[in-house]
Every structure is written in C-alpha cells, then in structure tokens.
Symmetry: C2
Subunit: 688 residues, 2 copies
C-alpha cells in the first residue's frame, strides 16, 4: 500500500499541476491498487443494489446518480432507485450484507473494484456502501470528451470510529439549510458524527413545548422546532451520521437563566433594615441574553432542587428527539465565581463534603447521569467534567491545549489512562483561522505515544469544532471547508498519510466538488467582496484577499467585546480565509528565486510584486465609491511600498538600508487594519 501511495504522490509532484490520472481521494483509502484501463461512462450507465441494506441506500444511490449526471451532463437514463435490484444487469453492482447501525463501532468498510466493463462495490453494511459511493465519485476522471473511472481496487475502512464536526448554533443561529448542506459535505469526506451545540450564553435553540419561556425569552426567535430536529436526525442518519446534541451546563447558562433566573447561582447582598448586622439573602436575579463573546459567570445553582427538576424535564423533552446514545452536557469553563460568592452554595458544599468547586461540579454532573440513563443516553462532556469521582461511563471531550497553557491534548491521554473513552478537539478548532497544516498534523495518537492497546482503544477519534462567535450562515462554510476535509482524512486514513503537498493538491478538487452539495465557501466570497466594493469590479479585492488572512486565535475579537452577536460579519476579514491561496505560491516562488536566480525565477517573483502594486492602485480607485474598503488601504499600501522597494532591489540592484527594510517589514506585519494579517510577510522578508 505504501508503495502505491508513494507512486501516486510522485505523480502529483512530477506534473506540477493535477495530472489527468491523479486521484483526488480524500480521505485517502487504506489500500488502493491502480490497474490499467478505465471504465467509461455513458448515458446507459446503471446501478443496482442487492443484499439486505437499510432502505436509506436507495435515496443515497439516487443522489449519487444526480451528482454524477450533474458533473457529466450525460442525461443518464436511470434517474432514481427505489428498491432492491431494479436493474439486474447494471454495470455498477452494489451488495451489502446487512443494515448499518448509526453510532460508534459499526462496520464502515467497503471494497470497490473497478474494471473496464463493470464495477463492484461490496460492503458489510450500507454505511460502508455509501462511503464507497463517495469514493467512486471522487474517482471520476475525464479527458476532453468523456468521463471515466480509472480501474482500481480499493479496500477501505476508518482508523477512528468518531470522526466529528461540531457546529455551534447558539452564538450565531445556523438555519436548517446550513446544517443540511454541512451534513452532506461531512458524508462526502466520510465523517460520521455531527455534534450540535444547541445552547449557550447567547441563546437557547430548541423548541420546548412545556417550557416555552426558553425560546420566548432566550432565543430572539431563532430556534429549531422539534420536528426540524427530528428531521435533521433522520437526514443525518440517511447519510450515516450520528447526531450528538449538546446542552452546555452548569456554566454557559445565561440563556437558561434568562428564562429561569430562579435556578441561578448569583447571590445578592441585601441590607436588612433592622439595626442588626448585614445579612445575605439569595434573591431572584434577572439575567439578560448575552450579546458578547467570552466566558461569563451565569451558572446554574447546584444546590437548588429546582435546578434538577427543570433539567430532568428538559432532558425528558429533548432526549427523545435524538436517536443516538450520546448526550453532551458541556461542563466547560465554569469558573465558579457565583458559587464562591453565594453563601448558600458554600454551605451546600460543606454539607456534602465537597472540597472545592470541581467536586461540586462533579456532584452536579453525577445528578444528570440517571436523568440521561433513563433515556438510554451516555453522558459526554468537555474535559472539565473529568474529576476523580466522575463515572467512567462518561466520554471526555478533550479541548484544551497550548492556548490554555496546557500540553497539546494532555487531557486526551489522561482520560484514556484513567479509563475514559475520549475524543480530541484540541488542534481541531477550525474557528481559530489556523492553517490546514496545523490541523492535518494533529494526530489523536501521535507516534510513540505511551499507551497500552486498551488505552489507545479508548481514544475514539476527533472532532472539528466550529464555534460561531464570528460566523453567520453566509460565512460559516468558508470556515469549515475545505480544512475540515483534511481533519476527516486525519481521522480516517492511515497514520502515515501525512504528505502536505499531496493534501494541498487533492484539496483543490475536493474543495471544488463540495460546491455541488450546496457548500458556499467559494461562491459567498464573491458576495462579500461585491458588498465591500459596492458592486464595483472585485478583481483587485479578490487579489488582495488572496494574500490576507483573518486574525487568528481569538485576536480578532479582543476580550469578546468588539463583535456583538448582531455586529456586521460582512467585512473584508470575513471574505478572507486561512491558507491564503497566493501566499504559498509566492513563498515557493521566492524560495526558487533565492536558490537559483534565473531570469525566469525572477520574473515569477517580480510579477507578484507588480501585481500587488497595481492592486493597491486599483483598490484606491475603488475606495472612492466604497467606504467599506477604507480599512484595508493602509495594509495594501504597505504591501505596495514594500513591493516597490523590492523591485528596485531585484531589477535595478539598488540596496536597501536595514532601517528601511525593518520599517517596511514592520508595516507589513501590522495587525491593526481590517482585522486581517498579511500572509506574505515572511516571504517578503526573505527578499530583503
């Protein structure tokens, strides 16, 4: 297998651009053998399915046919499939032994054999067969006039059983259409867990028939109906995806407390007018839905029986909406400030021999377990729930790392050693606007990890987390994709599949093909740029956006207060993405040039520099009729000035003083403009 993979990677490199024969598979399969010959498609191409699959496979094949027809324009005669073996002589024969069960540890393997005249796809379950259909679509190749599949044999199965994507629908509500298209995209890269973050300080997003106050007072009217939720669970299941809901408690509770202040922890000091000394009373507080981002104090009162009464009722209403066996109760970032300040809660701790707030939170969480068990749910929580008395049944969601002053994924290893099943999200925080490289290199079980096989088996996999402080329905796809496809590969493919150049090459096609599923990451960039340009020509903005990236790791929204939930996310930073497409290319050009100063290599570099000088001129012209364009002009000017100086150096052999160079580089490094940073600073620096 390794040999073949290497062979193909050589294929990518030798050609410089995608060769017709290169395979844009992602995640890369466990075993692939390329043979000679191709299977050529024509309108008579048909599919049939035999065995005992779940009926969802019929619609899956219908979608497969529709996507194939959309790409090829063949006007396939077979438009849809509704039952077993509809076309016994079909060229594509699919066989599944049995129904797949949506959840962990299911057999998702498949075997795909493409020959010149027929294709066989076999799988134990229909879930495996659906993965095989996605692989087949990724194998589609073409010459100038026809489409074909290369003859290959693929045997494939996932490395990890939990390959998840979390979407935060609380901080910015995400309409059903966003969820659906992302489920389709997940299925396209063989992900199988959708973690739906439904409740946080900024909103409660679940229709509650017996507790209407939650949406009435704490959702701004933006929530999912129970029917919509059930439909999403079915929609996900039809694509082999488990839905894990999250209600984040006891912290992150502003929304709940906006509706039910009586179960909050905040104590109020009241002066009692009796001449006696001041006394503390816990009095009803009012809370208001949070409009900022960050960590807030509103926390449920773990000493109040009403808290558990309400939570029990909530779980009774919410659990039946989800058919899967996992329920995420959050549990993160409770700083316990209101607990510390509330004497009633302090008394409660003493009464129950709870040494500190961690133990108090464990007490709280342990009360939830039977409520969830009643509905056959296993509890999952962010790593803070892992304390010494926490049930080993709980799944630990590892999220902290360097940004929190801890070793990367340390809680993951600790959880596995402590006997907990665990899932990694540290390193997969796609909202932080980091490079695809950062995520791709982040292996849940790095080589040489000192764990026993039993401990390793407790590491279920990983999950990309899309927190929504700074995204709307218009921009969210461009934050999730295409980087999440690389995470999907990390979680599915062999640990040794790590070639970054190959990943980047394949990602171009994978990213493009996500468009057919409705993913808007490419198309909506132009929408934003048209708005910024005030409907003028967007070429210069597009060029400039290709060397800019949004500020990273929480630095765009300092202290969580610059952007409120209703602030505009239609700005230049929203149009830019990590992995600025021209930056890598420019860096390669600079490296080539510095290694070998041929006129050709020089021209590639100077053409970039000249383009950016022109871009600045064009942006200035556009800005005459586009106020939204003003904030990025200083940065564009810095690039232009630097490019001019570097051109003089390169073409006229003029020298640049160290001071001047330093000044220009500092200008380019500025993060003070338009919430973006230049992705070409280091490359420019090399040219001085």
């Amino acid at each position: 297998m390794k040999y073949i993979v290497l062979l193909l990677f050589v294929g990518f490199f030798a050609n410089g651009q995608p060769a017709t024969e290169s395979l844009n598979l992602m995640p890369w399969p466990q075993k692939i053998e390329v043979k000679s010959g191709v299977f050529t498609l024509d309108k008579k191409f048909k599919v049939t399915i035999t065995g005992m699959p779940n009926a969802r496979i019929f619609a899956a094949i219908t979608r497969f046919l529709s996507r194939l027809d959309g790409r090829t324009g063949l006007f396939l005669e077979q438009g849809l499939i509704t039952k077993l073996n509809e076309a016994p002589t079909a060229q594509l024969q699919i066989n599944c032994l049995r129904e797949g069960k949506i959840g962990l540890y299911e057999d998702e393997s498949y075997h795909l054999d493409i020959q010149q005249n027929n294709i066989n796809l076999t799988a134990t379950t229909d879930l495996g067969a659906m993965h095989g259909l996605e692989t087949l679509l990724q194998l589609l190749q073409n010459n100038s006039t026809s489409f074909y599949f290369p003859a290959v044999t693929i045997s494939d199965m996932p490395r990890f059983t939990w390959r998840g994507l979390m979407i935060d629908a609380a901080r910015h509500f995400q309409p059903i259409a966003v969820i659906k298209r992302n489920l389709d995209a997940m299925a396209a890269v063989k992900m199988n867990v959708f973690h739906w973050h439904l409740v946080d300080d900024q909103g409660w997003r679940i229709e509650m028939k017996n507790h209407p106050k939650l949406t009435k007072l704490a959702s701004d009217g933006l929530f999912y109906t129970q029917e919509e939720i059930k439909n999403i669970v079915k929609y996900a299941g039809d694509r082999g995806i488990l839905v894990v809901p999250e209600i984040d408690i006891p912290g992150h509770a502003t929304a709940i407390l906006t509706a039910y202040p009586e179960i909050g922890s905040k104590a109020v000091q009241l002066n009692v007018n009796s001449g006696k000394k001041k006394q503390l009373f816990t009095q009803l507080q009012s809370y208001e839905l949070e409009r900022n981002s960050g960590i807030f104090t509103p926390t449920l009162d773990p000493s109040n029986p009403k808290t558990y009464q309400l939570l029990s009722e909530i779980f009774d209403a919410v659990c039946p909406l989800f058919s899967g066996m996992y329920f995420h109760i959050g549990g993160d970032e409770n700083e316990g400030k209101d607990w510390d300040a509330n004497p009633k809660i302090q008394d409660f701790k003493k009464q129950h021999n709870l040494a500190n707030n961690h133990e108090l939170q464990t007490y709280f969480t342990m009360q939830l377990l039977p409520m969830l068990k009643k509905h056959h749910k296993v509890v999952m929580g962010w790593e803070e729930i892992m304390t010494k008395n926490m049930s080993k049944e709980a799944i630990i969601h590892s999220w902290k790392g360097e940004n929190e002053g801890l070793a990367k994924g340390s809680s993951l290893i600790a959880a596995a050693k402590n006997g907990y099943k665990t899932v990694l999200s540290n390193g997969y925080y796609i909202d932080l606007m980091q490079s695809v490289e950062d995520h791709y290199k982040n292996d849940p079980i790095p080589e040489n990890t000192l764990l026993t096989p039993e401990e390793k088996a407790r590491i279920l996999g990983g999950e990309a987390t899309m927190w929504s402080e700074l995204v709307t329905a218009t921009t969210i796809d461009s934050r999730i994709w295409p980087r999440t496809a690389a995470i999907a590969e990390r979680l599915w493919s062999d640990q040794k599949i790590t070639d970054l150049a190959s990943l980047r090459q394949r990602l171009k096609t994978v990213s493009f093909r996500l468009e057919e599923l409705g993913i808007t990451h490419i198309r909506n960039k132009e929408v934003l740029l048209r708005n910024i340009s005030n409907n003028q020509k967007t070429t210069a903005l597009e060029d400039f956006s290709n060397i800019c990236e949004p500020l990273k790791i929480y630095s765009r929204n300092t202290d969580g207060t610059e952007y409120k939930t209703y602030s505009p996310l239609t700005l230049f930073a929203d149009a830019c993405t990590p992995d600025a497409p021209d930056a890598l290319e420019f860096d390669a050009a600079v490296t080539h040039y510095l290694n070998n100063k041929t006129p050709e290599n020089e021209t590639v570099v100077t053409n970039f520099l000249k383009k950016w000088i022109q871009t600045n001129t064009d942006l200035l012209a556009l800005s005459q009729n586009a106020p939204l364009l003003q904030p990025l002009l200083p940065l564009s000017k810095s690039v232009s000035e630097t490019a001019q100086v570097l051109l003089l150096k390169i073409e006229k052999k003029e020298t640049i003083s160290a001071d001047k160079a330093q000044e220009l580089i500092l200008q380019c490094l500025s993060k003070d403009h338009a919430d973006v940073e230049l992705a070409v600073c280091n490359s420019l620096k090399k040219l001085f």
Copy 2:
C-alpha cells in the same frame, strides 16, 4: 411628480454610469421630492416605533438594522428591537396607526420624510411601514468614506393590490430555504402575494396526515411538512405577504392518481369472453408519477362520488394550514381525452345535461366551492374555469396569450367584463426566458382599455409565474431575479413609469442588493461555470455566457421530453440568463459606431470583436479538460469567425461577399448548440 421623475432620469443618462446621487428605487414611488442635504449615518443611528402596529414590525426593524449594518459596517449600537418606543430619541421615528391585515385591499401606503437630522416614516399600517423601510434601504447612498440617505419626501402606495409571484414546487421540488429567500426578495420589491403551486403531474408536495399515500407514492420523498407550510405562511405574513396555495385539479392529476388510481378517468376496454360483443368496463388503472414535461391526460373522474369525498378530506386537511382567504384549484389544460373515452363519464354528462367537457368541468369546480367555503376560502383558478355557469365569486387567473394563439391577456378583459375578479399572468411567464423588456411593457390595463371603472377595479393585479420544468434550487433564483423586480414595479408604480433605460440602470443595483437576502442569482452562475470548466479558470466561459441566452418559449425542452425531472440542469444554458449583459452594451456600441465612425467608437466595437476571438481560443484550450464545454464550441467558433471577418472589414476595409455574410449570420443564428442562442446576432448583422 412627473417633473421630478424626469429630472432624475436625466440624471441617469447624463452620467453614463450611476451617479452618486441617482436613486435606485424599485418600484418607483408614486410621489417623490428630492430636497437638498443628506442624513449621514453613524453607529449611533437608532430606530423607534410608536403607534399600534402588529408585533411583526419589531423583527422587521431588526432585519432592517442588520441589513443596514451589513452594508455599511458601522457596528450600529442598536442591534435589535423588541417592543414599542425602545429609543424615544431615535433619529428614525416610525409611527403606524394600526395592525395591517394580510390580504387584498389593505392600506399599504407610507410616507417617508428624510431630513438632515431625522427621518420620519408614517403609515396607516405596519405593512406600509415595512414598505417604507425597504424604500429607505434602497435610498442608501455613499461617498468615499460615509453612508447617507438623501433628503427626500416620498408618498407612496401601490397601483394594484395583487402583486404576486408563483413558484412551482411540483415539477422540481424547491426546498424551504428557496421559498424563504424569495419571500424576502419579494418583500424587498413590495410584492404581496406568494402563490405556491404545490401539486402537479410530477409530484404532491404537502404532508397529509390522514392520506400518507399521497407523499409516500407521489412525491419521491420531497414534500413540505404541515409545520413547514404553517411556518412559511407565518414567515410570509411577517413580511406582509399573503400565501395562496394551489392544488391543480381535475387535470394535472397524475400525482394524485398515482396514489388514488380509483378516482381516475381512464377507461379500459376489456374483452369479455362470453361470445357476446365487446363491452366496456371501467377498471382500476395504475398511474405513474410523471417524469416528463407537458400536458398529460390523467384527470380526476368528475362522475365518481369518491373523487369529491377525497377532495373534501384533502381540503379539510390543507385549508387550515393557510390563513389567507384564497385557494387556487388550478383547472387548466384539461383536454378531456380520458373523459371522452370513458362511457361512464359520458353517461354522467347526459344525465346531468352537461353539453360538453367545459360544462362538465364547471360542474366539477362548482362541487369544490362549498368544500372551500366551509373553510372560508374563495376559489381561484386558471382562466379555463371561466365558463358561463361559473360562480362570480371565483377569481380568474389569466394566463393564455400569443403562445396559445390568443390575443394578449384577452381572458383578463373578458373576466373583468363578465363580473369576475381577475389576475394577469400572461406576459409574466418568467420561465420562458424572455427579456425584462417584454415583461415590463406588459401592463394589466393598457392605456385606452375600454373598461368601466367597476370593471377596471376587478383587475386585481398580476403575478409572475415561475414554472419549474427546467430549474433546480441552484438555478431558480436566476430565472426569477432580477426580472421579477421589473414586474413588481409594473404592478406597484404609476402606469406612466415606463422608461426602459432607467429601469435597466436601477435594476443593476436592485439586483446586486438582493444578494444580501440570500438570493443566489449572481453567485450560483459561477458555481455552474466552475462545474462546466471542470474547475479551470472561468473567465472565458463567463465572457461567452454574457452574450448567450437560454432558448426561449418552450424551445429548450421540445415536446417536454428532452429533460426529465431528473435530467442535469448544470449546463451552460442553465448558467446563461435572459438579457445577456454584454449584448445590450454591444448593440449600443454598434449603433454609435454606425452613426458616427470615429476611431473611439470603432475601438469600442472592435474590442468586443477581439475579445470574442480570444474567448473562442480560450474555450478551445479549456475544453481539452472539460467535456461539458464541448457543446458550446461550435457557437463560439461562429462568433469568432464572424468577428474575424468583421474586423477585416472594419480595420482593413476589406469587403465581404453577401454570401459569406449570409453564411456567417446563419451560423450565428443557430439554435442547435448547448440549448442557447446568441444574443448579439442582430447587432453583428448590422455591421455587415
């Protein structure tokens, strides 16, 4: 009023491009006075509302703030509005006397007065106020650094009370997201009726709790749940829009009959083996969901009591989902073939003294009236329902015209004269891919129409109809918009507002602004072109698409059989639109040049010609890796050859033989390639 309008139109022309001060209002208001000065926006801008509006206005103002902030990036301090008079000192003061009623004949007027320091918006109802907010958004102007509203006074109200858009969700199902974004776009151009065509030969799209067979057997799983429908009715109402559902009967009934064949009209001849002469028996037929387009024979049996029983039950289930008072029962294109061939139905006609199939259909329709009246619904139907015995309560929907061999809108006039209320759709068939000009010039009551005031008052307005034989969720917006905005103006504005150049100029901005509501007409074009180009650079395809238009008036899908419901709609014709943007510009350039052969005028023309030669070269290169691109090459080659010959004529003064010219023009006129036609043929012809 006329004076001011003319003044502004002069403004458009004088500048050649949109002047900063030009107003991109659509529909054009009844009365507008432009004053000196502007209201400049800053982050402290606030809105307040007083009076007794419906609570929906709070969310409407919140959406207004969000759109304003998205366009300006001001980070407005006021993010949302939840109650009356939240900000008493706000600069924008809105006052409504009372709640608006969703439906016809409501007061939708508003008065908007913008001064340097404050803005007053007053309206009788909140519906009028919402129209005023849309006008205010359209008034947004900017210089290089700030945004402002020009000081104007506007008094406005609609000319017609029915300003509708129909979406056919039967032939190609349209997801909820498509409906929602189009409702938002309708509200942006002050349309107030959404006609939802929910049932046709190709599918039944309504969840039926007591008749699940309808969706199980006749929807391919694509239908709206009852909750979704109710939510759409509310969503529409929140935007001032009435929803009129349509269940098309007794023809167009294949879907119903697929589920309930026992109420079909088809008779089957059975040979009875008794030596007696052949006898006719009506026997249970099976029907299959239609996959083609066209007019089909499956028709409900008007002689069968079960038909009325089922319809009554259907109306009992469907009527309560819609709060409006109108119910469209279709009634069109019943050719009565199965009625004629069914002796039982012929007997029924005789028994009931029904002279012909028209009378039989009237009999049928009259049975529906009490079923609908029970739910307080007034019946509406396509013009075929207008026969001599039809109740005068029914609303007649006029659709036939020149394509059907009749005088334009003749049934509209007939209906008004016959005492029926009536709505015009002939001339507003936006699926036919005709120019915006065709629709814009189509006045429901042309000047000099000989009708009494009472008769005129029966003409309620008009409705754009988006039939969905050839559209998917990806392409439908580009067929509806921006042309429907011109229809909206025709139905709202004064009859004298007919300047086409002004319309086209304003439409550029109106069309662009629809993007903020999620309308995909611009962004999805690139998606289609990327698919066609196989993810290569799309510039050449874009350039070529800008002179091509999809085949018009049913000629793309000859006999309705080339495209089945599952055929690919990802092709070049799907990326092209009516009013090909470069065609008009080129025609103007040709006219200028022919009137005045200056070098400047010549250059404009020859630059186009050179561009198209280059486009053809580029398309050829792209086609090496893009099979979907092959079908358009012959047409591109024709343009290139013609352009080359014309360049020789223009620049080198070479003569062209009449034969050669004729040959080239014929090539350009070809409609045999890629389902498109060239929009520059006539202009090219002028140059020979």
